[in-house]
Subunit: 196 residues, 2 copies
Amino acid sequence: MNFEQIKERTRPLVNKVSPVSEGSLGLMSDLIVVEVYEKGDIFIDRGKKNNKEYFVYEGVCRSFLLRPEGEEVTISYFLEGSVLSPNKTRTANQISHLNFQALTKLTIASLNADKFEQLMINHMDIRQFGNMVLQNELLAKVEKEIALASLNAKERLILFREKYHFLENLISHVDIASYLGITNISLSRLRKELIE
Amino acid sequence: MNFEQIKERTRPLVNKVSPVSEGSLGLMSDLIVVEVYEKGDIFIDRGKKNNKEYFVYEGVCRSFLLRPEGEEVTISYFLEGSVLSPNKTRTANQISHLNFQALTKLTIASLNADKFEQLMINHMDIRQFGNMVLQNELLAKVEKEIALASLNAKERLILFREKYHFLENLISHVDIASYLGITNISLSRLRKELIE
DNA sequence: GTCATCCTTTAACAAATGTTAATGGATACG
DNA sequence: CGTATCCATTAACATTTGTTAAAGGATGAC
C-alpha cells in the first residue's frame, strides 16, 4: 500500500472520530505501517513490549485476558474502521496487559506511539482526535460496566446483538459468552429462548 | 487554605501517581480552588457542564448513574488522596455523563481542565502525570470488568473488601450492592455467609 | 422517652445461571 | 467414504441470585 492509498484509507476512519486537517492526516499517514494477520493470530501479547497505536482497516479483532484458572475472558471487540484502545491505556511502561487477537483476516495500520504522541502535542486537531478516542474508549467501558451491573444475561445479549449483530455468526460462542459474563451453555439457552 | 498549604497537600497525592518537579507542582497548585461538600451532596451532575479536574484531599465519593427504572448504579469509588477520572473521560463536549456524590464530608481540589491541559502540553512531567492517571483509570476499569465478568458475587465481595475494606461500615449497602452488581438482599446474605 | 424513619437482616419462594455429561451437526482430513 | 475434531445444543440437577414481604435495630426529631 503506498502513501496515497494509506491516506485514503485512514481519512474516513479518523474523521469519523474527530476530523483533522489534510496536513495532519499526512503526518499521521507518514507514521503508518500496514500489518496483515490471519484469523486466530495474536498480534499483541500480554506481558510483552508494545509501543504502537492501531487502526483497523479490515476485519475484526478482540482483546482478552486469561483468568488464573486458564479460561479466556473477552474484554472488547474492535470492528472494521475503528481505532484500538490508545497505547497508554493498555500498557504500563510499554508492557501490554492485554492480549489482542485477529478473529478474521485482519489488516491494520500501526503507528509508533511515541511519534504519535509528539504529533498530539504539536497539533491541536490530532490531540483532539486522540482525546476523542480516549473518551469513546471510556464511554464504551462505562456502558459495558452498566450493562454487566444492571442487566440480566438476556438483556445483555439483546444489547450485544444491537451493537455487534454480525459477530454472532462469525465468532466462537465461547468468546461471546465470556464477553457477556455468562457460560456458553447459558448463551445457547438464551439464543433458543430468543428465537421462540 | 493558602498557596503553601495547597502545595503541601497536593504534593504526596501527585507524587503517588507520577512525580513532578517543584516548579510543576507550583503551576498546578496555582490552578487549584478548594471545594468542600457535605455528606450526600452531589457535586457533579449528569447532563450539566463540567470543565474541572479534581483531587480528593479528604473524604470519600462515588460516581453513579440512574437506570431508566430509577435505581442508582454505583460505577466507582474515589478515596482520600486519589485523583478523580480525567475530565475528558467523564464528559462529552464538557457535559458530564456521570453523577458524583460526596459519601462523607469531602474536601477536594478543583482545577480548570483547559488550563490543566495546557500545562500537560507544555510540561513533560505533568503530561506524564496526566497519562498515568488515565492509565490507572483504565486499569481499574479493566480490573472491575474482569471481576464482574468472571467472579461470582461472593468473590467480588471479597475483592471489594480487600480494596475498600473500611467503606463497608461507612456507606449504604444499597450503594455497595449496586457496585457489586447484586441486590442489597444478596449482599446481606453474603455478609452473613462470610462471617460463619 | 417515644415515635417515626431509614437501613439491614431474615424468610419463603421463584427465577436465572452454573455444572457435568451426553448428543448432534458441521467441517477438515486421510 | 469414513472418521476425528470442534462447537453448539440439550438435559438433569445443583447452586446462586432475585422478589416480595415482614421483622429487627439504629438514629434523629420532638
